[in-house]
Amino acid sequence: MIEIFVTMLSVVIAFAAGMALVFPFFVAGVTFPRSAAGDDTKSDNSIRQDAYLQALEDLEMDFRSGKLPEAEYQASRQQLLEEAALLKLSAAVPLTPAPADAGEPIGASISGSVKSQ
């Protein structure tokens, strides 16, 4: 009796597994993965923005805690902001008009764009 049950169960499992495999071929609209991103360029930019934010914060904390002298801090910060601006351009996101100190609004722009995500 148990053997018959096990055999029946095995057949059912195998049939269900087969159905799960062929299901996507016969039902329209089944996609994998259900991701909005086709390739990773866009999400890559957001990762980089995240990384620049973190770098700016680290720099800020290092400066405030006295680990970095003013000149070193300013130079590193400027470089980070310039790289962030290039990233922004490569992502083809319109930049705000360039102000006198180009670094600051770009930093704000990055933070704004990350915030909105």
Partner: protein, 681 residues
Amino acid sequence: MKIDLGNFLLALAWLMSSYGFVAGVYGASRKREAASASAANAVVLMGLFSFLSLAALGTAFLSGDYRYEYVWQNSNNAMYAPYRMSAIWGGMSGSMLLWATFMALFAMVVVWRSARVPVLLMRWVVPVLAIATNFFLAVTLFLTNPFKLIPTDQIPTDGSGLNPLLQNPSMLIHPPFLYLGFTGFSVPFAFCMGALLSRQLSDNWIRLTRLSTLIAWGFLTVGIILGGHWAYIELGWGGFWAWDPVENASFLPWLTGTAFLHSVMVQQRRGMLKVWNASLAILTYALTVLGTFITRSGVVQSVHAFSNSDVGWVFLVYLAVLIVVSVVLIAWRWKDLRPEHQFESFFSRETAFLFNNLVLLAICFATAWGVLFPLVSEALSGEKSVVGPPFFNRVNVPLFIALMFLMGVGPLIAWRKASLSSLWKTFRVPFFSGSIITAIFLVLDSTRIYTAVSFGLALFVIATIEAEFRRAAKARSVITSSTPMQSGLKLFARRPQKWGGFLVHLGVAVMCIAITASMAYKVEKDFTLKTGDKLRVGNYELELLKLSDGQRRDYSILSAEVAVRRAGESKVIGTLRPEKRFYPRTQQSTTEVDIRMTMKDDLYIALAGLDMTDSEAKTMDLVGAKAAFKVFINPLQVWLWVGALVVLLGTLVVLRPLLSPLLGREVTEEEVEIVEMRARG
């Protein structure tokens, strides 16, 4: 037709993985969505069927179903239920099934959590996961099948029993943790291969596998530590790490996995080391396969149980194919893996991380060389030469010391370029603290240079972490107008990756102190005592109160009761009861040590046996009998386990934000505020 359900489910899991690979490759290469979706379903079913197959084996063990040869070999009616469950991984066949199941479950979770993974990347990840798991399922199904049946007319009513050494609480969780670590590294490997195949070579694959890499690393770390703890309390030789080939096999992927965890930060921050990171992800997975070859081929002598089977060569072939395919893929995508920046200065965090990686790989290479040396020597000279702990210690201790130094420097040095003045500002206090400790130990004993430097560097690491924590808490308290204490605690919530990492480093520094102390100042003594005899060992005095024997469920015991006093004092501060057990069914004996643990040291006693002639043994008069003991005093030993707990805690802190949401890190409001604050001037 008679169907065995466990075996049927295992076969189905293998079929699903085969189909998942074929359909996945077809779907990804021809951009057929239905085929990719079908492959993903196959991978989910592969996980489900593997798990059910493992559950069927577990049920067979719990119910004592001796129709299965594997159940008969590794359990018996007298064993407690938890040990019957752990018997699943007590032998080759079950451990392979466990391995394949964990791998299949990781693959299943990846497919479930794929909604945020770019389509082009994910479509290649699925067939890679399927083929990687397919190999382990195939080995389990065709070469080491745990569902092999004993002929109906020969089915026994009781089993042979599990190796008594494995009947220990640590063994309930140590192998599964180790396997979770090994198999977890298949996820970064699959994403790396998927990225190479799909040419989606941004930092995405690294970000997406951060969680699985950390989980795998965490499991492997805990698994290795539990293995050390098991060796310490079960094997009776007073140590926790013997550079045994099987221990080394688990250590190798841990080293490259640790290197990978650090070097990905350089890629994420600076767009560098892309080839290096891809190579490390592949190498870490390859080393788990190499470890399997080492432990299961029998070509290298080990105290562990899995050796001397004939499946080793299969792993070697798989490893060769894996390496060739990976090298070809990396070469194919070489141009896409070019770095975005160059190293700007020797004094920078990326340089420190690169050196950290090089040292970790040097340790990995030296250890692998020591493990494989018997094979090399046999091939060259015809004689198998084995290298022991002295080789590993001589080569690796200086490397570990270099690693400790980099562990202190790396996290605090600035990215890109650090000036000498900022380095001096950051490191002067930790440097002097470490130097003073080193000098003190050298004055006390100038022959122990490594010991002194090791203590000094451990303190250097602790001091750098303390200084950084104090500085950050103070700076935050100014920004947020809170007390430094509140700000300090908030640091863990705000930047768990950074401060969790520091906790891990702190734990490693504590472990370093414990390992150095227990290696350098260990006291070891072999002696015999009869009832009433006293003996001084180190600062302790031991008195044998009595010897007794008895019978337990499936073994007989000889136990000793030993009173412990401080030397020169009469007050008994503890009683230790080491045992010797004999399992008649397997004709094996085990040593059950007893340990008096304090913050200062461990007093560790093992009962080696009775020191008597054969005629005396026949009468077994224990009153006048002499017992042989092995005693160790291991200074600061308990701090090894405390340090390990701190490492675990740090890993959990790092993992917390990654677990929710499962993929990616949300930028905190405070981070945005700080940047905006600066933008406002």
